[in-house]
Symmetry: none
Subunit: 168 residues, 2 copies
DNA sequence: AAAGCGAATGTATAAATATGCATTCACAAA
DNA sequence: TTTGTGAATGCATATTTATACATTCGCTTT
């Protein structure tokens, strides 16, 4: 219904996003047009418009730089959070995000919440979910063959409202 | 000859710079024009041009924000410097091997090291890695769709020197 | 005081960046 | 297979941001 993959395209996009991070991590890039050219050299032909969207998606910031005027920087991966920690009130709280890769899904939770949340999921035993394995702050969900990503999200949403917004 | 102060003006400017930091620290500002207005409320009447210069002087970055599209952020006072962001460099030891199967990877570690190593990987949160789950001496890594094995190795190698040699 | 300097800033505009709209494409549902 | 839907993206343009240039102002040196 609302899939978000286009095997070929997605693959290219994912690679491009990685390339973008590599480039701006290894050298100072001061404008998007400049990066468009660098990407073209790498084999990625896109317009500035798409790049602008990519950078927004990657949360890449434009920061003043003494040497080049301005440069783009990849978020620190760790902090970068908005304020401290945004608490929310869901019947099942503690879920930070959920992402898919094939028929596998990785759900990130707040530290120590993984097992509890996984238990909740198991207890509901949705048909779409074959099984789960939980660590400390990560849960691996294996979905049944023929089940789409949206199916999984929908199934979980039944008892985990707000999950849709956690999708990356 | 080489003065750089203009008592009155300078004072006003200094105060304004402080005000700018206070404002963007306390709320999400998504454009300079918006900030110009906010500053005017505070009693500072300047144009967008001057603000652009002030922000550059303060090294204020424009970063994508899920809620407002974009927002301005004051540098972390500490890091954020140009290169000097290089910190921690404790060789991550304990890895015995790493093998792939599709977009999954199994990393074998010395007994009891899995969780610690997985934590390190998680803390760096490389884009290529969707998530990890650790047991006692084994870590399961789920890579993002469209990401190649070498992409994963390269991403991990950034903070796990010598990993390439562990590949089977 | 007059001249000289350089910082600060506004004006106007260039440059850079974001986005509405339309199109294409792959996947899911029927 | 056919149809529907959302993701991805280019194009054109709106919006935003940076800067060249000119002016003002206060301090410093004759």
């Amino acid at each position: 219904m609302h899939s978000q993959k286009k095997k070929n395209q997605m693959k290219i996009k994912a690679q491009r996003l990685i390339a973008i991070k590599q480039i701006i991590s290894s050298r100072k890039v001061s404008s998007q047009e400049e990066l468009v050219v660098l990407l073209e050299v790498e084999g990625y032909k896109i317009t500035q418009a798409t790049l602008s969207r990519d950078l927004k998606y990657l949360k890449v910031a434009k920061v003043p730089d003494a040497e080049t005027g301005y440069k783009y920087v990849v978020p620190d991966t760790a902090q970068n959070q908005d304020e401290p920690i945004k608490q929310e009130e869901f019947p099942v709280s503690g879920v930070e995000s959920i992402e898919f890769s094939g028929h596998l899904a990785i759900m990130k939770t707040r530290p120590g919440f993984a097992n509890g949340i996984a238990s909740v999921i198991d207890s509901h035993g949705p048909y779409e979910i074959l099984g789960t394995i939980a660590g400390d702050d990560t849960i691996l969900l294996i979905s049944r063959e023929g089940v789409s990503k949206s199916d999984v999200i929908n199934a979980l949403s039944l008892f985990m409202p707000g999950l849709k917004e956690k999708t990356l």
